[in-house]
């Protein structure tokens, strides 16, 4: 079998280019490439990997380390996050020098305003795709809704809410 590393590098480099706005907007694209078109992992692996990535403190897209690992072990994981971070990091480094001029650019402003609604639709699609594989019973739906409200109202920090949801799930399995 040919080494999967070069295609992994290319695919995650592409994700790095399109994952603006915190990465959630790129979830449909990742799902399409990794699950639907390349069959590198199952929809369940994708959803659980995404959940694990959210649990760990650090950059908001650590799930790709899990995805890369799933495809090609430790090298795959390291390659995935490196390729993903590269485009933004290079741009950010360049912007560190030219920011004052770029900030005033009219076209950039227009592009950003155009991206807002489209990016929002993509984010919602990402949430729907992950929800469709993971929410299989109604108590999970209730739990998800409760977490959403609690975070939206700023009652709890998201990481703590997710951990609590995990503990609740484990407790529920003990009772049920």
């Amino acid at each position: 079998m040919r080494s999967p590393l070069p295609p992994i590098g290319l695919v995650f480099l592409w994700f790095g280019i399109v994952s603006f706005g915190g990465g959630l907007a790129a979830v449909p694209e990742m799902h399409r490439e990794l699950v639907d078109s390349r069959g590198w992992m199952s929809a369940r692996d994708f959803a659980e990997g995404y959940a694990i990535g959210q649990l760990v403190p650090g950059p908001n897209m650590l799930a790709v380390v899990f995805f890369g690992y799933k495809i090609a072990g430790v090298a795959g994981g390291v390659l995935a996050i490196t390729a993903l971070s590269l485009p933004g990091a290079v741009l950010a480094t360049l912007c560190g020098q030219a920011w004052a001029r770029l900030g005033q650019n009219v076209w950039l402003g227009r592009l950003r305003r155009g991206l807002v609604p489209v990016g929002f639709g993509l984010m919602a699609a990402g949430a729907a795709l992950v929800a469709r594989t993971t929410i299989t019973q109604w108590p999970q739906a209730v739990l998800a809704l409760a977490v959403a409200v609690a975070i939206y109202r700023r009652w709890v920090n998201p990481a703590i809410a997710v951990l609590l949801a995990g503990v609740l799930g484990a407790l529920a399995s003990r009772l049920g």
Binding site: G16, I17, S19, F20, G22, L24, E29, R32, E48, A51, I52, L55, G58, P59, M61, L62, V65, F66, Y69, V74, G77, I81, L84, L86, G88, A89, A92, G96, Q97, G109, L111, R113, G114, V116, P117, V118, F120, L122, M123, A124, A125, A128, V130, A131, T134, Q140, A141, L143, A144, V147, A148, I151, Y152, A161, V162, A165, G166, G169, A170, S173
Partner: protein, 148 residues
């Protein structure tokens, strides 16, 4: 960093946050690269990104390695825990989406573009490139001036 080490002033930091968020890729590593570049050129950027990413990467690799064997023979406790975790993550995603709604509602035809992008990505499963090329120019054109 701003308060203790005085490496940056408040305005510079806010600027860096904006850059980090508007560029593609993980926000935090973009932020780190930007600040690293301001402080120490490209070597500063590399050091900052590695510093902020490496611990999390190690942790996820560890979790991923232990997840395989555990998920193959899941005990009920672990299954339940994972179901709870994933439900929680869906909750986080949902609240992120709701929080992002306001600027969308303000944009011209914002909801139309949002629904179109949703349908294209979640139901038609079109490639993101296609979705962006079809919708962003039009949305930019309609919103070429600041929203009222």
């Amino acid at each position: 960093m701003v308060l203790r080490r005085k490496w940056l002033d408040e305005d510079r930091f806010l600027e860096a946050m904006t850059v980090g968020r508007s560029l593609p890729g993980p926000n935090v590593s973009n932020l780190a690269a930007f600040i690293g570049a301001l402080l120490g050129g490209y070597r500063g950027a590399v050091a900052a990104v590695l510093g902020i990413v490496a611990p999390g990467v190690g942790l996820v690799l560890l979790l991923a390695a232990s997840y395989g064997p555990l998920a193959a023979t899941p005990g009920p406790l672990l299954r339940g825990g994972l179901q709870g975790l994933t439900a929680g993550v869906v909750g986080v995603m949902a609240s992120t989406v709701v929080q992002a709604l306001k600027p969308v509602a303000r944009a011209r035809a914002g909801l139309v573009f949002a629904v179109a992008a949703f349908v294209a990505a979640a139901i038609l499963r079109l490639s993101m490139m296609v979705v962006l090329v079809m919708l962003v120019p039009l949305a930019s054109l309609l919103n070429r001036d600041e929203a009222p």
